[in-house]
């Protein structure tokens, strides 16, 4: 799924990107520079062949580029953008983490913020045990250690 068929005015050049599973994408510079990494590459005048992105798979990259495109659109209103973001991030955990890692790796601040907020919302209000279950984290405290942590921070862990 490539994003080369853009309804926007194509004024600038295009960047070629290659995902970890060898999918190639063509994207407008104006859209790609949402990522700080591409921004520097464009400024430094690099990027002849397709840029390899060994940390992002095709499916995720497609999504991310879609997000960038929406956010690079000058005609879209803030309201529409917020609505879009709300829908965009309403995905299951697997996709969410892929987006999170991709946004971190590609240094896309706004997208990282969006994804982090979503995870934060999932954490809020949950007990440590619930969090471990939601995120599949192992409890590596011994009962003695856990007791020690509780004791030392009783004031913080209050009701």
């Amino acid at each position: 799924m490539s994003s080369s068929s853009s309804p926007m005015q194509s004024t600038g050049r295009k960047l070629k990107l290659k995902s970890k599973d060898d999918e190639t994408f063509e994207v407008e510079e104006a859209v790609a520079v949402k990522s700080q990494i591409f921004k520097y590459m464009v400024e430094d005048g690099v990027s002849n062949g397709p840029i390899p992105l060994p940390n992002v798979n095709g499916k995720t990259l497609a999504r991310v580029l879609q997000w960038c495109q929406k956010h690079a659109d000058p005609t879209i209103t803030e309201d529409e953008l917020n609505k879009y973001d709300a829908g965009f991030i309403d995905v299951d955990q697997a996709v969410l983490y892929d987006l999170l890692m991709a946004a971190n790796y590609l240094n896309i601040e706004e997208l990282l913020k969006l994804a982090c907020m979503r995870v934060a919302d999932m954490i809020k209000g949950k007990s440590p045990d619930e969090i471990r279950r939601t995120f599949n984290i192992k409890n590596d405290f011994t009962p003695e250690e856990e007791e020690e942590v509780r004791k030392e921070n009783a004031w913080a862990l209050g009701p």
């Binding site: 982090c116 995120f135 192992k138 405290f141 942590v149 921070n153």
Partner: protein, 408 residues
């Protein structure tokens, strides 16, 4: 797209990446973050780390929790040879504890070894016996450290205690002793001696001011952002910035009150927005001012002090009669009230004392809450003592982490 099925690898990767975990935690309120130390060892380490704590406090306001009130009786501290002696049953460092953590501190016996209370900062205690014996006690290592003996003998002095914000694991601090003149003479200079934890030694220097002044003896400075504010006679404040590298003091006049001519208590503190706040109380009520920040930088600080009068901004006036009216449950018993203290980095509340009762007053809602403390039975001569709240920065810590700060 297979919805609902978690790819277990992904879950681990995203949340085991420290950067990403920090990014997520930064978006949660404190109470939520604190609870997460129990999720796993990694989460405990990340949250307790100094780097995360710094990042967090650059986004969210730092909070403190109250352990109790320290009492410092002036009659004993630096007493003349024929003055009052503290009776042996009376503790030198009484703590009116307000919670279990305070009780634990009190019963740990630590306080018995420290002499008299002088000041606290960021949870650290400065205690001792004038003019030569001083201790620093750290809430992190829970150990005391005796400062080397000062070189300068000051018969009458005032002090300052500065604990620097640490971005790494080492806590740095400074202790300043400043000589106070006994005669009613004002001069342009003051001899001070500064101990720095970095050098481990005292260093004498002389500060100069463009006008004459005299620092108030037996007082302790209020320190905000590393800048020292001492009370000076005739209702002035002496300001010294040890980090500027310039041995100068500047003097500003404290604002005149509008409620009364007769003020009994004056206290200094830090506002929520990092400014100096000044509170004074009389029989009628309390007035709170804030010193608005200088626009043009430090150079104008050293000009004559007439500029400064305009810069005090009166933020609150509190009339005691109205206060008691709005909080009728307490009215019948109390007449004399006074401001006791500000809270750290807080413009929203103040501590008020009435008799042996301590209250927390919220300036906006005008609500008064009793602060319950242990030690009511003990005899405190309130009028000759300074009663100071002891706050600790609220942040989780664990001996499981190698985050134990060392003291140089």
């Amino acid at each position: 797209m297979k919805s609902g099925r978690i790819n277990h690898d992904n879950v681990h990767t995203a949340l085991t990446c420290d950067d990403v975990l920090c990014e997520i935690l930064l978006r949660l309120p404190e109470k939520s973050v604190f609870r997460l130390i129990l999720v796993s060892r990694k989460w405990l380490h990340v949250i307790c780390s100094n780097s995360f704590r710094s990042s967090y406090h650059s986004k969210w306001r730092e909070s403190f929790h109250l352990l109790g009130f320290f009492v410092c009786n002036f009659l004993y501290l630096g007493r003349p040879r024929d003055g009052f002696r503290r009776p042996p049953w009376e503790p030198a460092l009484p703590l009116l504890s307000t919670c279990k953590e305070g009780d634990d501190l009190k019963f740990s016996g630590v306080l018995k070894q420290l002499g008299y209370f002088i000041d606290s900062s960021n949870g650290f205690l400065l205690c001792g016996r004038h003019p030569m014996t001083y201790y620093i006690w750290s809430p992190i290592t829970r150990k005391q450290y005796q400062l080397p003996q000062p070189q300068q003998y000051y018969r009458s002095l005032c002090m300052a205690f500065i604990v620097e914000d640490s971005h790494d694991d080492v806590i740095c601090y400074k202790v300043i002793r400043a000589k106070c003149v006994c005669k009613p003479v004002e001069v342009n200079t003051v001899s001070i001696e500064t101990f720095s934890s970095k050098t481990g030694a005292w260093k004498q220097s002389t500060l100069t001011c463009s006008s004459s002044f005299a620092l108030c003896p037996r007082s302790v400075a209020t320190v905000i952002g590393g800048v020292v504010y001492w009370f000076s006679v005739h209702k002035h404040l002496a300001i010294y910035d040890p980090y500027l590298g310039v041995r100068r003091l500047s003097l500003i006049k404290l604002p005149a009150g509008e409620l009364s001519f007769d003020y009994e208590e004056s206290v200094l503190g830090e506002s929520s927005d990092g400014l100096l706040q000044y509170g004074q109380s009389s029989k009628l009520g309390i007035e709170i001012w804030v010193l608005e920040k200088e626009q043009s930088g430090y150079s104008s600080m050293y000009k004559s002090d007439t500029h400064w009068e305009k810069r005090w901004n009166l933020r609150y006036t509190l009339n005691f009669r109205e206060m008691w009216k709005k909080n009728p449950t307490f009215t019948d018993r109390f007449s004399e009230s006074q401001i006791l203290s500000f809270l750290p980095r807080n413009s929203e509340s103040v501590f008020i004392r009435s008799g042996s009762n301590i209250f927390l007053y919220q300036l906006e809602s005008k609500r008064l809450d009793v602060v319950r403390y242990h030690g009511r039975g003990s005899s405190i001569s309130w009028d000759s003592s300074k009663v100071v709240p002891y706050f600790r920065p609220s942040w989780p810590r664990s001996s499981l982490c190698q985050c134990i700060n060392s003291m140089t």
